[in-house]
C-alpha cells in the first residue's frame, strides 16, 4: 500500500468523495422507505444534502465552552472517515488492520456519549447514559463476530478476514453484525439513545447549527461504514458489488424501523444479549472448531 493509494482511499473511494454523498443518500432513503411503508411520500433523496447546508448556514447561539462541543463532532467525523478508508473494497487494496478499524469505528459513539455529558443538559445526560449502556451490549456480539472471523481466517488484516473465513463462520457472523446495525445506527426499535421527542434529542439536544451539521455528517458516515462492513464481508474485494450490497442494507433497516416501535432499554439490551450474542457465539464456535481441525 503506497501513500498515494491510502490518500485515494481516504479522499475518494471509499472515503470523502464517495462516503459523504452516500451517507446523505442512505439517510434520506431510509426515511423514504419508512414513509412509503406508512403510506406517505417522504422526503426527496437530496434531503440530507439540504439539511446539511441549512444547518451550516445557521448562527449558533453563543454559549460557554464552545471548544469541546466543536471538537467532539469533528473527532467523530474524522475517526469514522478513517475507519472507512480501511475497508477492503478492492482486491489488493489497503490491507487494513481489524483492531485499528474497530478502534476508529467506536470513537464516534464514544464522542456522542462524551458530548451528552459535556453539553450539561439533563436530556443530554440521559441520552449519553443510554448510549453507553447500549454501546456495551451491542459491542459484545459485534466484537465476538469480528473475532470469530479473524480466528477462522487466521489473520487480523481486514482483507484476509473478509475473504478468508468460510461461510460456516461468515454466515452467523454476518447475522450477528446485521443485528447490531440498527443499534449502532440508532434506528427503531433501538432508537433508545436518541429517542426523539421522548428525551428531546438525546446526547445531541444542545447542539445547534454547524456543530449539529457535523454530527449529522458523522452519522451519515457511520451508515456508510457499517453498511460497507457488511458488504465487504459478504462480497470481499469487489468495488461495484460493494456499493450495491451497501445500498441493499438500507431498505432492510428501513423496513425494520417502520415495522417496529421503540423498545425500552432493558428490552433492547436483552435482545442483544440473547439473539445477537447467540449468532455471534455460533460463529465463534464454528471458527474455533475449524481452527482446531474438528470441522
Amino acid at each position: 500500500m503506497t501513500p498515494t493509494r491510502l490518500l485515494l482511499a481516504l479522499l475518494v473511494f471509499p472515503g470523502v468523495l464517495y462516503a459523504v454523498p452516500m451517507g446523505w443518500l442512505m439517510q434520506a432513503s431510509e426515511r423514504k422507505v419508512v414513509a412509503r411503508l406508512q403510506g406517505r411520500i417522504g422526503p426527496p433523496l437530496t434531503q440530507g444534502f439540504y439539511d446539511f447546508v441549512k444547518l451550516l448556514a445557521k448562527a449558533p447561539v453563543p454559549r460557554a465552552e464552545p471548544f469541546l462541543l466543536t471538537l467532539l463532532p469533528l473527532l467523530a467525523v474524522g475517526a469514522t472517515l478513517g475507519a472507512l478508508a480501511l475497508l477492503p473494497v478492492w482486491t489488493g487494496g489497503f490491507t487494513g488492520d481489524l483492531i485499528l478499524f474497530v478502534g476508529l469505528l467506536e470513537l464516534a459513539p464514544l464522542c456522542a456519549v462524551l458530548a451528552g455529558f459535556a453539553s450539561r443538559s439533563v436530556y443530554g445526560e440521559v441520552g449519553a447514559v443510554r448510549e453507553a449502556v447500549l454501546g456495551i451490549s451491542v459491542n459484545v456480539p459485534f466484537l465476538a463476530a469480528l473475532l470469530a472471523l479473524a480466528t477462522a481466517s487466521g489473520s487480523l488484516q481486514l482483507a484476509q478476514v473478509a475473504g478468508g473465513a468460510p461461510w460456516l463462520v461468515r454466515g452467523p457472523a454476518l447475522a450477528a453484525l446485521l443485528c447490531c446495525l440498527p443499534v449502532k445506527l440508532r434506528l427503531n426499535p433501538f432508537s433508545v439513545a436518541n429517542a426523539e421527542q421522548e428525551i428531546l434529542a438525546g446526547p445531541l439536544t444542545e447542539f445547534d447549527g454547524p456543530r449539529l451539521a457535523l454530527w449529522e455528517l458523522a452519522h451519515g458516515l457511520e451508515w456508510v461504514v457499517l453498511a460497507g462492513l457488511v458488504a465487504s464481508l459478504a462480497v470481499p474485494g469487489r468495488g461495484v458489488a460493494f456499493v450495491l450490497v451497501s445500498l441493499a442494507v438500507v431498505p432492510l433497516l428501513g423496513t425494520l424501523a417502520a415495522a417496529t416501535a421503540r423498545l425500552k432499554i432493558n428490552q433492547a439490551a436483552r435482545f442483544l444479549w440473547t439473539w445477537a450474542a447467540l449468532a455471534a457465539a455460533a460463529s465463534v464456535f464454528a471458527a474455533l472448531a475449524i481452527r482446531h481441525g474438528r470441522l
Binding site: 411520500i41 422526503p43 434531503q47 439539511d51 447546508v53 448556514a57 448562527a59 447542539f207 445547534d208
Partner: protein
C-alpha cells in the same frame, strides 16, 4: 468568495426552503391545535415531503410553533426556548389562543397574548385551524425564513 458568493447564497436559500425543522411549544393549549399540527405529519398531509421535520430540541429548529394562550407557568420557558433557537428563526402562532387569548382572555392565569412575550411573525387563525391551514401557514413561514438574510 468573489464569484462564488451569489451561488452560495442561492444554495443556502434553497436549502432553507427545503429543510424547515419545527419545534412545537404548547403554552397551555387545550390540545386541539396540537392535534391538528401533528395531523400534518400523517399520510394525508405528509409535510415531510417538503423536508419539514418536527424536532425534539429547540436548538435544532428553524420555526417555533406556539399553541395556547401562554399561561403564567409557561411564560418563562417560552422565552428561554425562543432564545435558544439559532438565527434565522420564525415564530408561528397556531390557533386563536396565542393571537388573542381566545376563550381564556381576561383570565388571571394568562400572560398572553403571545406577542407580549416573543415577536410573532405569522398567525394561523382558527379554533383549532384545519391541518390544511396549518400547512399553508408553515409554507408561508418558510418564505419568511428564506427572506431573513441574517447569518449566512
Amino acid at each position: 468568495m468573489g464569484v462564488l458568493e451569489p451561488l452560495v447564497l442561492r444554495l443556502v436559500d434553497r436549502a432553507r426552503r427545503k429543510s424547515a425543522w419545527l419545534f412545537h411549544f404548547n403554552a397551555g393549549a387545550c390540545n386541539g391545535c396540537d392535534i391538528e399540527l401533528v395531523a400534518c405529519l400523517t399520510p394525508r398531509y405528509d409535510v415531510e415531503q417538503l423536508g419539514i421535520r418536527l424536532e425534539g430540541s429547540p436548538r435544532h429548529a428553524d420555526i417555533l410553533c406556539v399553541t395556547g394562550p401562554v399561561t403564567r407557568t409557561t411564560r418563562e420557558a417560552l422565552a428561554t426556548i425562543h432564545a435558544q433557537i439559532p438565527d434565522p428563526k420564525v415564530v408561528v402562532a397556531i390557533g386563536s389562543c396565542p393571537a388573542s387569548g381566545n376563550v381564556f382572555a381576561g383570565s388571571p392565569m394568562i400572560d398572553g397574548p403571545l406577542d407580549r412575550i416573543v415577536p410573532v411573525d405569522l398567525y394561523i387563525p382558527g379554533c383549532p385551524p384545519r391541518p390544511g391551514a396549518v400547512v399553508q401557514g408553515i409554507a408561508e413561514a418558510i418564505e419568511l425564513l428564506v427572506a431573513r438574510k441574517e447569518a449566512v
